[in-house]
């Protein structure tokens, strides 16, 4: 899947040619998806999301190629590229790699500089990051050992319930009650869901219960780092209103979800890239 906010036509002179602006990029090479954000000076001009596939290095190359095609830039036009995410060290063209912990903090802070805690729920991991002055990460906690509390949990359950993942949020919100899912483990929770369906529990209540399960895992991490509002939720799972609502309920505070929650890491990486060369001219 490729989507780009703005495109440059082939006729527009490249920044190198005009010398008017500097181009920076951040690429978040995750285990499931790869995102890229391109900044012209500090203004985002393009963002792309695609599946990583099985090879991060190839994903990075594919992403760069797609970006160049969309914008008309070439690799040499980029003043600085920062890569982040699971595959951050595999991109040969990267100028520097920074952990997704710092990048998410930076990206979230850029979108809302009063944010103090960022919750990122990705395809295969989840993390909570404390954000300080100027978007620096102050503390963090990660879960990359267990699928519960990640996008994978939703995938598995969507399959078991025979619903589209994208529908789950709405269904959960509409449900009047929820069925408690007691299993901590994704694999056992799936069996439990199958049993609940067989016992005749309404699907919508089960789905609401699943949202609550994810929320309870994530909330544990928030408390370990220390809850400090305002909160922002990023990552693919943030698009699921059921999860957002379940989190808000458990934490007792509202959570901001940016318009494009999946690119926050790449955005942060791009911003860090732009700061890298602030002193260099």
């Amino acid at each position: 899947m490729v989507c780009c906010e703005r495109q440059r036509s082939e006729k527009t002179p490249t920044p190198r040619e005009t010398g008017a602006s500097m181009i920076f990029a951040g690429i978040d090479i995750g285990s499931v998806s790869t995102e890229m954000v391109i900044l012209e000076n500090t203004v985002p001009v393009c963002s792309i999301i695609m599946e990583t596939g099985s090879n991060s290095r190839e994903a990075a190359d594919r992403m760069l190629a797609a970006a160049c095609e969309k914008t008309g830039f070439s690799l040499s036009d980029f003043h600085f590229i920062v890569t982040t995410g699971y595959g951050r060290k595999t991109a040969g063209f990267s100028h520097r790699d920074v952990t997704e912990l710092s990048c998410h903090a930076r990206g979230a802070w850029h979108l809302n500089n009063s944010v103090r805690t960022v919750i990122d729920i990705g395809g295969q991991d989840s993390k909570v990051i404390k954000v300080g002055k100027s978007g620096k990460s102050l503390d963090f906690i990660m879960n990359d050992k267990c699928a519960a509390g990640t996008g994978r949990f939703l995938e598995v359950m969507a399959r078991a319930l025979e619903v589209e993942i994208e529908e789950m949020g709405k269904i959960a919100t509409a449900a009047k009650e929820s069925v408690k899912i007691s299993s901590m483990c994704t694999v056992f929770a799936e069996s439990e869901v199958v049993s609940l369906i067989a016992e005749g529990h309404p699907r919508d209540r089960i789905i609401r219960g699943l949202m609550d399960s994810i929320a309870s895992r994530v909330v544990g991490m928030v408390h370990r780092v220390g809850l400090e509002p305002p909160l922002m939720l990023t990552g693919g799972v943030a698009k699921n209103e059921g999860v957002v609502r379940a989190l808000e309920q458990r934490l007792g505070t509202s959570i901001q979800v940016p318009e494009e929650p999946q690119i926050v890491g790449a955005l942060g990486a791009a911003l860090i890239a732009s700061e890298e060369t602030a002193g260099k001219k």
Partner: protein, 420 residues
């Protein structure tokens, strides 16, 4: 088959303490023939020689071997001319030889819970399969953790040898000190009965003498490391525990730390600066013993050098031969694993200040509830200084769940916190 696999097969298929002794003899010889310059520190060669020699003695003279728990009063054992070895450190050494997966798999067959600390499980299995000589007796204290009594009791029963157990009280008031002091006196009498010898007071005095010398040297080493430039890697000092855990009270223990002290002093005076560290780290608790690059990565690639480790803190006063049992009791009770968490937190505060620490890492060994349960309060303490704290979950002995990639992200993230 590689040498490594051959050794493994030998150990598991035909466990025989005598074979181990011969194997250690071989390693000893090899180490003795390696030039000291090949080690990061010349004293490190001495370290290896002393450790292997002590281990070899332990296997060669089972009529003198004593199994001890970490922080047990080994001076008492040395005073009887016996040879103590910490079972936890033995488990660590087994892990460093890549033996842990098989050992732990063995315990799982015996219904031992996998939430139980892998140090304990590993040495219980080492004892069970016959890799250890039958000792004279087994000596343990309560305060290492809940699991210590259970495990040493099991080992004592497996080897059919008596267990001498010191019940460390939580408190440290007069009555509590008397309670432990009395137990130490009784322990000495018990050892006399078991060995059919009498404790020679002069030998006890010598053991105290060497223990105090080792203590002084360790104190000086810790002080020298306050130096503005790191003089050795934490990876090289964390293993000190394997020596002073067993050799406090022995001439070699004292001599070794004096060697280290002298070498580090020389480095400091000469302005030695070959370690290009960027940040100074305090390391809490133990480290993974199985082969791994974790510390190398932290200290050498990331540049966060461990300039102090909690496990080598000198928490006790000099031993006084005029009141030997009380002296030993106080030494035990000052350990920061005894009682409430305040001693531990105070030690952390002092070290952050004295060693100009930039960041603190706690290694949460799976199943170590006395340590991991305190992470929140440790974090609070470190935060008082406005420096970052990182908790790493892992296992010191069981490498089966070790995933380097997961550590790397957290460590790099921590580095980013340090660099802000």
């Amino acid at each position: 088959m590689s040498l490594q696999s051959r050794v493994k097969r030998m150990l598991f298929d035909e466990p025989d303490p005598k074979k181990i002794m011969r194997g250690i003899g071989f390693i000893l010889l090899k180490t003795a023939l390696t030039p000291a310059g090949k080690f990061d520190l010349r004293a490190a060669k001495r370290f290896s020689l002393i450790l292997y020699n002590h281990a070899r003695r332990f296997f060669k003279y089972p009529q003198k071997a004593v199994f001890t728990s970490l922080f047990a009063p080994v001076e008492l054992v040395h005073a009887f001319g016996l040879c103590p070895f910490s079972l936890e450190m033995l488990a660590g050494i087994a892990a460093s030889m890549d033996l842990a997966p098989e050992l732990l798999a063995g315990t799982e067959k015996e219904w031992l819970s996998t939430d139980f600390c892998s140090f304990h499980r590993a040495y219980i299995e080492i004892a069970r399969i016959g890799l250890l000589p039958a000792p004279v007796f087994v000596l343990a204290t309560a305060h290492t953790c809940d699991g210590t009594y259970k495990s040493f009791s099991e080992v004592s029963s497996l080897m059919s040898r008596p267990l001498i157990f010191l019940d460390t009280p939580y408190h440290s008031d007069r009555v509590a000190v008397d309670y432990l002091t009395e137990q130490l006196k009784n322990a000495a009498e018990q050892i006399e009965k078991v060995t059919k010898t009498t404790l020679d007071r002069e030998k006890l005095e010598r053991a105290f003498f060497f223990s105090n010398r080792a203590r002084s040297a360790l104190l000086e080493i810790n002080e020298i490391r306050q130096n503005e430039r790191p003089l050795l890697f934490g990876e090289d000092s964390l293993p000190f525990l394997t020596i002073w855990g067993s050799l406090l009270g022995h001439r070699e223990g004292a001599a070794l730390f004096e060697r280290y002290r002298d070498e580090l002093k020389r480095r400091s005076e000469e302005g030695w600066s070959q370690i290009k560290g960027k940040k100074r780290v305090l390391w809490l608790h133990l480290k993974p013993f199985f082969p791994n690059r974790l510390l190398r990565y932290i200290e050498q690639e990331l540049g966060a050098v461990i300039v102090a480790e909690e496990i080598n803190s000198v928490y006790w006063d000099e031993l006084d031969i005029r009141s030997p049992w009380e002296s030993l009791a106080l030494k035990i009770m000052r350990n920061y694993w005894v009682g409430g968490i305040e001693k531990r937190l105070d030690n952390i505060r002092r070290t952050i200040e004295s060693h100009h620490i930039d960041g603190v890492i706690h290694f949460s060994h799976w199943g170590c509830r006395q340590s991991n349960g305190g992470v929140r309060l440790i974090r609070d303490t470190v935060t008082e200084y406005g420096i970052p704290f990182l908790n790493l979950d892992g296992d010191c002995v069981d490498e089966r769940s070790y995933s380097e990639a997961q550590y790397l992200t957290r460590l790099e993230g921590f580095m980013e916190l340090l660099e802000r």
